[in-house]
Symmetry: C2
């Protein structure tokens, strides 16, 4: 049986001072492993939406909405883990993320916003809108990677 409960995003309702801080990672390696794990899960679900958007997989609206919810929810998690001192050396992250934290947070926030729009489009079930916001989200990923990730 394929059973699944829903993940839902509390749209744009900011709940305030909650979330991870640098202090929640005992060692830099923990922060790197955590953020890489979040990115891997996001990448998997985002890739499955991509396969639909590119016409490689049939469009199942419920499935796409589910994957988009996960992408949007997880897009809120990893950013502070990037801002832990000492985590640029042993990862693909450029030191610039740590040097320009507010710029990094702004770029990350843009990805959160794009992913939230994708999730709303996916909930609506219109493939054209999903495609458009998939592109917007992918663009926000790339914009951040271009600046803060080494090849």
């Amino acid at each position: 049986m394929r059973k699944f409960f829903g993940l839902a995003i509390v749209g744009a309702i900011m709940v305030g001072m909650v979330g991870l801080t640098n202090a929640d990672f005992a060692r830099p390696a923990d922060a790197i492993a955590y953020r890489q794990a979040v990115m891997r899960v996001i990448g998997h679900h985002f890739g499955l939406i991509g396969a639909v958007v590119k016409g490689e997989k049939p469009f199942d609206p419920k499935d796409v909405a589910h994957h988009a919810d996960i992408v949007a929810a997880l897009s809120q998690l990893p950013w502070e883990a990037f801002l832990v001192p000492g985590t640029a050396e042993k990862s693909q992250m450029k030191e610039d993320a740590l040097r320009k934290k507010e710029d990094f947070r702004a770029a990350a926030g843009e990805t959160e916003q794009q992913a939230a729009k994708l999730a709303r489009a996916a909930a609506g079930g219109n493939l054209g809108e999903i495609r458009s916001h998939f592109g917007g989200t992918a663009g926000s990923c790339k914009a951040c990677h271009d600046v803060y990730r080494s090849r």
Copy 2:
């Protein structure tokens, strides 16, 4: 600024036939990497609740509710990735998970239920109840690990 949007769980509302299947992993290695990533994220947030429950960190109800929401939401994700053929050899998973899929799914479902109870307790903000359901969730993790994970 520590900004965070809420993750919320649609309690016990089963949305039905949605979720990952074996076919969503191109290679066994992808399924292993995916499930390990989900488990790492769960483990991080669960560990932060554990630190509060053990008195190592002060009790901030909003923080604990946030971590518990993430644990409950992510507890719904990884199970089918364990049931991809060819993924026992190169991981800690015992072949028994693949041989006894329904037993595995039942054990996984128990963890989902326990994590949902923990999230509800955390939303309520009573540390005694949180401690109790933290223990229940930890027990369900261990029960599954004892049977399906090699040391």
